[in-house]
Symmetry: C2
Subunit: 207 residues, 2 copies
DNA sequence: GCATGATGAATGAACGTTCATTCATTGTCA
DNA sequence: TGACAATGAATGAACGTTCATTCATCATGC
């Protein structure tokens, strides 16, 4: 047993999580601009003072939500990549697949991501949590591309440009889903990214 | 002379525009969630009643801003494309260049676009104005791709997939600029899109 | 060309509502 | 019983909107 938590600590933790989930629900339903403490507490089924008790301010709760979603996204693609083994091609495929996994790419999650992104420029404290495809992911994909360049001996391919293209494509397809979730097709999206990967690395990513 | 407007009508129109510009400034500075009528009027240098006098409500003013930016974007790429002449390759190049033109791709404009996008799902009245690369642009680019397929006789290229890829890339690179305006390089961005275009249509888009 | 009444753009104090936050009180485990 | 999580009424600031009033501009009559 790692920690034997008392019943008290357990409900406290449960309430903390409930507030974060309720806030995400409220953002998805009403939009960040219309999210109020009252609406959050209504969704969570908790009393008025709870937000300030657990997070000391509404803004801190919003920060906790942003952090939660950021960490969930990052750990998701890292786990997927590591499960894929050590081959560069398999690792890149796993990252791409992870990006279109319904666990990540769904209406609620996108609503939260895009909401925080749009407020981060005027509230810089959100900045660390809005960059889904952050420096770490960029380094990872760039090094995969570099490996593919060396192995496949593609003289014309710049790993930096390849990585930038793939990441921008992932971003753009997220936006496509966000704007038109009904007409978005996950298989087509994956095919588009793999098509681009194949354009850079003809030896890999066979259809 | 098209219309001889009275001095009264001129100042009225000037105030209307001032409110729209001030609202865009306020969104860029404070974020949509923190834009209040007071802040807008402070920036515009006008009196309290002006928003409701000209737009009847704050929400209608926000709608007018969204519409303005949407129309400006659309007319910009259409003018650029038509100036490029009738050749398919030149037209696509013009659309790509237009998308990275500082007139369109700048901090203020992106702040406004992304702000409205993030609120449109909970306030559907904004929906008609948030889809920069809308159905019209998609039809245009798809038909250009179809023409390039036929002329160049690229048997393996699906014009739909090519158009989707290019549009998603443009979207993704906008997001890239929005998240990191300082480290964004317009020339690299253009090169990335042209590189992808070349992958689909090897006969065209020479570097 | 000038005087005069009509027009409606502009103003800003006031309104009711909603907001995030506080804190004295209550309830519940250890 | 002591410690602390939970409650919800109370608070004042900020919100969008209203509206009686003001006054520069315009149309009209002479």
């Amino acid at each position: 047993m790692p920690e034997a938590k008392s019943a008290r600590e357990q409900t406290k933790e449960r309430h903390r999580r409930a507030l974060i989930e309720a806030t995400a629900d409220a953002i998805a339903e009403h939009g960040l601009a219309k999210v109020s403490v009252s609406r959050i507490l209504e969704k969570a089924g908790l009393s008025r003072g709870m937000v300030n008790l657990h997070f000391s301010s509404k803004n801190n709760l919003l920060l906790a939500v942003a952090q939660q979603f950021s960490e969930d996204y990052t750990s998701h693609w890292i786990v997927a990549m590591e499960r894929a083994g050590s081959r560069a091609e398999a690792r890149l495929r796993a990252i791409i697949d992870a990006d279109f996994d319904p666990v990540v790419l769904n209406r609620r999650t996108m609503a939260v991501w895009f909401a925080f992104r749009s407020e981060a420029h005027s509230s810089p404290e959100f900045m660390p949590f809005i960059d889904s495809r952050d420096a770490k992911m960029q380094r990872t994909i760039t090094s995969i591309c570099r490996e593919l360049c060396e192995r496949g001996a593609n003289p014309g391919t710049d790993p930096q440009i390849a990585a930038l293209s793939i990441i921008a494509l992932l971003e753009g397809l997220w936006t496509d889903y966000y704007l038109h979730p009904d007409r978005f097709d996950r298989d087509t999206a994956r095919a588009v990214v793999l098509h681009t990967a194949r354009a850079f690395f003809p030896d890999s990513f066979d259809a």
